[in-house]
Amino acid sequence: MASESGGLTEYIQHHLQHLVPHASKEGFWAVHLDSVSVSLALGVLFCLWFWLKARKATAGVPSKGQAFVEIILEFVDGQVKDVFHGDRRVLGPLALTVFVWVFLMNAMDLLPVDLLPWITEKFGVGHFRAVPTADINMTFAMSLTVFVLIIFYSFKAKGAGGYMRELFTAPFGSSPFLWLPNFLLNVVELLSKPVSLAMRLFGNMYAGELVFMLIAGLFSAGAGLAGWALYGAGIIGYTVWGIFHILIISIQAFIFMVLTIVYISMAHDHH
C-alpha cells in the first residue's frame, strides 16, 4: 500500500467495490456476487447448524451445542411472545432466521478487512466485500421481504375490504374529506418501514466497515519510528473497534429481528 495521502483513498475505494460479473460492471445485472455468495454460505451454515442440533436433540439433558441453540431459540421465541399474541408458527422461525442470519452476516465484519480479499485474489478475484449487510442491496432485499409479509398479513388479518377501509379511515377518521390525508399518511408510514429497516442495518454495518478500513490505513500511514508507533496504534484501535463492534453487530441483529416482529404483529392489529 502506498503511503501518500492518495493511498488511503485508493485503498478504501478498492475495498468498497463489490465483486460483479466481468461482463456487466454496471447496471441491473451487476449482481454483487460477494454479497450473494457470503450471505448464501452463511444461510446454509445457519440451516445446517440448527438442523443438525435439532435432529440430534434429546428431551433429556442437552449437549452443550444443543443447549446453546436452545438458548438462542428461547431468547427469540421470548421476544416474539412478548410482542405478538397469536400463532407463532410462522413468525417465530422468521424471527429466528432473521436474527441468526443477520448476526452471522454482521459477524463477517470482525474478520480482518483484508483477509478475504487477499484469499480471493489468489483465485483471481480482485474485489471482495465480506459483509453482506454492508451492502444496501442485501439489507433492502431483507426489508422488502418483510414489507411483502407486512402487506400479506395485513390482508390476511383484515381482509381486502377491511385493510382498504383502514388505509382510508385511520388514523384521522372516516369523513370523506379525510380519506386522502389518511391514505397518504398510511402510505408514508408503510413505506418508511422497509426503508428504515434496511437503512439502519446498512448504515451501521457500512460505517463499521469504513471505520475498520480507516484504522487499517494506520498500518501503512508512516515510515520509520513514527510509522511503527502508528502501526501499534492501528493494532490497538483495530482491536478496540472490533471489541466494540461485537456489541454493534449483536444489537443490529437484535433490532432487525425485533422490528420485523413488531411490524408484522402491527399488521395483525386492527385500528
Binding site: M1, L115, W118, F219, G242, I246
Partner: protein, 156 residues
C-alpha cells in the same frame, strides 16, 4: 493486492480479538450453557424422584388399603361372633326366665289347689258334722270329735 503489513496488522488485531472473546465472552456463554444443562438435569432428576415417590406412595396406599380391608373384615367377624354370643346369651336368659316363671306359676297353682282342697275338706267336715248331728239329733261336740272329723275330712 499483495500480502503486506496491513494484513499482518489486521491479523494481529484479529488474534487479540479472538483472545478477548475466548477470555471475556465465551466464559459467560459457557456458564449460561452449563447452567441450563444443570437446570435441565436437576429438573429431570426432580421429575424422576417425584415419579419414584409417587410409585412408592401408591404401593404404600395399596398395602394400607389391603391392611384396612383385612382389619375391617376381622372386625366384622368379631362383631358377628359377639352378636351371636349376645343372642345366645339372651336366648339362654329368656329360656331360664321362662322356666323360672313357669315353675313359680306352677307352684302358685299347686298351692292354690292345695288351699282349695283344704278348704273343701274343712267344709265337707263341717257338712258331715252337721249331717251327723242332724242324724243323731243331738249336739255333737265338735271339740270331742274333732280328731274323728279331721280324719274324715282327710279321707274325702
Amino acid at each position: 493486492m499483495d500480502f503486506n503489513a496491513t494484513l499482518i496488522g489486521e491479523m494481529i488485531s484479529f488474534a487479540i480479538l479472538i483472545w478477548f472473546c475466548v477470555h471475556f465472552i465465551w466464559p459467560y456463554l459457557n456458564k449460561a450453557i452449563e447452567e441450563r444443562q444443570l437446570k435441565i438435569a436437576e429438573g429431570l432428576n426432580a421429575a424422576e424422584r417425584a415419579h419414584a415417590d409417587l410409585k412408592a406412595a401408591d404401593s404404600k396406599v395399596q398395602a394400607e388399603i389391603k391392611q384396612a380391608r383385612l382389619q375391617a373384615s376381622e372386625i366384622i367377624d368379631k362383631a358377628q361372633q359377639q352378636a351371636n354370643q349376645i343372642i345366645e346369651k339372651a336366648r339362654g336368659e329368656a329360656v331360664s326366665e321362662i322356666n323360672r316363671l313357669k315353675a313359680s306359676a306352677q307352684d302358685d297353682i299347686a298351692s292354690m289347689a292345695q288351699r282349695a282342697r283344704d278348704e273343701l275338706r274343712e267344709q265337707v267336715g263341717a257338712l258331715a258334722v252337721a249331717g251327723a248331728s242332724r242324724i243323731v239329733q243331738r249336739e255333737v261336740d265338735a271339740s270331742t270329735h274333732k280328731a274323728l272329723l279331721d280324719q274324715l275330712a282327710a279321707e274325702i
